[in-house]
């Protein structure tokens, strides 16, 4: 059982080392000639007019809320799907009962214009 975790640990350690090594070599080899004009954030040649640390459109927030609901739903689908044939019609109907309220919610959101961009 633990073997599976060993494999993932090994690949994780190798992956992190590889990527960090690339960053480290880059920091060692790259030149350093800093001056203020070079370090200004890119703004098509203008001075930065507004700071990016400000409010942004609420739509992104609404997508995030929708994501939480539907991703949790998706997670419930995984184990159900894996044992689906053993559950038979009982499992089918149970999942239908679980999905209908969500479908109603999605339809409501859709009608209200929450999915418009």
């Amino acid at each position: 059982m633990l073997e599976e975790y060993v494999g993932l640990l090994v690949i994780f350690v190798i992956g992190v080392l590889l990527v960090s090594a690339m960053l480290a070599v880059h920091l060692l080899l790259g030149p350093r000639r800093h001056f203020d004009a070079k370090q200004e954030p890119f703004e098509c040649g203008e001075k930065q007019l507004v700071s990016p640390r400000r409010r942004y459109a609420v739509k992104f927030y609404m997508v995030a809320i929708l994501f939480v609901i539907f991703d949790v739903e998706a997670i419930f689908f995984y184990p159900w799907g894996a044992v689906f044939t053993e559950l038979g019609w009982y499992g089918y109907v149970a999942m239908l009962v679980f999905t209908v309220p969500l479908a109603v919610g999605l339809t409501y959101e859709w009608m209200k214009g929450g999915l418009e961009w």
Partner: protein, 386 residues
């Protein structure tokens, strides 16, 4: 045991990162050049040898490593440094659960050709995939640039939206194969089914003639034949998740410079770039395993293959040959999927952002839920009739 794991890990990383990903950067340039009637990369040379421009990936690495590392004023330095790391590591480690060949018996030992044979393999891929979102959002937010922020906002909304549909569009596959373990799924696909086999189940007492169980009337039991709609939806969503064209609005060069990595230079930029290319390979591997039978040879099962070859060569050699053939089969399918993604990239124009979001929430999401219940009803009605 750990030795075996390390060997398999190094092998797959060398194949994916050392060979496939760099060659892909070259292929992508060459393919775009051919599609746009140009010559493409052919200048990098090493003592007069150019090999069709194949040295360009090498030149890229040298160049990226020796560039200055510019951090914009007012940026959050720690986040700015961590972001490429968090974006690239998930791409590298996702290959840990994708099987590149089957399960073989050599005398006493049974070897499964996958780094980790976890039974939650697919969940791991999705979990790792969502971590990559943090990388893009951190990159965009920490750069203190308006373009980066716009790109990061677009990327975050797009990635989390498509994560939902990506999960839902493959549930049909779990239901058909009854597992989340990728190696088991590949083994399940190492079989064939009769196209008309369901008739026997629907009409009791019907016996299909024998010729319907032979070559042209049986198909490999691949996910793409059992879940055709699931395949299309999964391919579209996973390409959107990787932010590749035609879904590359978070980068959208003509609108927001380079999106979330506008303020990155040198190898930090290179890591975002590399992550994208490695993810293309991961996507190809994942789609292959779920829908194209993974390492299996179409119409020829592992037992058949070993059975035919053993009398001529002996069992050990036959099994070894089988490993090689299966691995080449897997790589062929992966290369075909990579080619498909690249052709889509250069063949389609970029979507508008509202179209991308509409496709996800109004198109694929309802369709994938419908697909789950239609698949379920068919599975229960027709049973394992094939």
């Amino acid at each position: 045991m750990p030795v075996e794991v390390i060997v398999k890990t190094l092998f797959i990383l060398i194949v994916v990162i050392g060979a496939l990903a760099p060659v892909m950067t070259w292929t992508e340039r060459k393919q775009s050049a051919v599609m746009q009637d140009r010559i493409g990369a052919n200048r990098a040379d090493l003592g007069g040898i150019t090999v069709l421009g194949l040295l360009h990936p090498l030149a890229d690495v040298v160049k990226l490593l020796t560039k200055e590392d510019v951090v914009p004023l007012g940026a959050n330095r720690i986040m700015h440094l961590l972001a490429p790391l968090i974006a690239a590591v998930p791409a590298v480690i996702a290959y840990g659960v994708i099987p590149f060949a089957g399960v073989y018996t050599f005398g006493q030992d049974t070897i499964s050709m996958v780094v980790s044979n976890a039974d939650w393999g697919l969940l791991y891929i999705f979990a790792i995939g969502s971590i990559a979102t943090y990388g893009t959002v951190m990159a965009g937010w920490s750069s203190n640039s308006n373009w980066s922020l716009l790109g990061a906002m677009r990327a975050s909304a797009q990635m989390i939206s498509y994560e939902v549909t990506m999960g839902l569009s493959v549930v049909g596959i779990f239901m058909v194969f009854g597992t989340l373990q990728l190696q088991t799924m590949a083994i399940e696909q190492d079989a064939t089914f009769r196209i008309l086999g369901f008739l026997e189940y629907l009409i009791p007492g019907l016996q299909l003639p024998a010729f319907l169980s032979a070559f042209p009337f049986v198909l490999p039991k691949w996910g793409i034949f059992l879940q055709p709609l699931g395949f299309l939806m999964f391919l579209a969503t996973i390409m959107a998740e990787n932010k590749r064209p035609p879904f590359d609005v978070p980068e959208g060069e003509s609108e927001i410079i380079a999106g979330y990595f506008t303020e990155y230079s040198g190898m930090r930029f290179g890591l975002f770039f590399m992550a994208e290319f490695i993810e293309v390979v991961v996507i190809a591997g994942l789609v292959t395993t779920l829908f194209l039978g993974g390492w299996t040879i179409p119409w020829v099962s592992t037992a058949d293959f070993i059975g035919v070859v053993t009398p001529a060569l002996g069992e050990g050699v036959a099994t070894g040959l089988c490993v090689i053939v299966h691995f080449l089969m897997f790589m062929t399918k992966v290369v075909v999927m990579i080619w498909l993604q690249m052709s889509l990239r250069w063949g389609l124009p970029r979507f508008r952002y509202d179209h991308v979001m509409d496709l996800c929430w109004k198109g694929i999401l309802p369709l994938s839920i419908a697909n789950i219940f239609v698949t379920g009803a068919l599975l229960l009605l027709l049973g394992d009739a094939s």
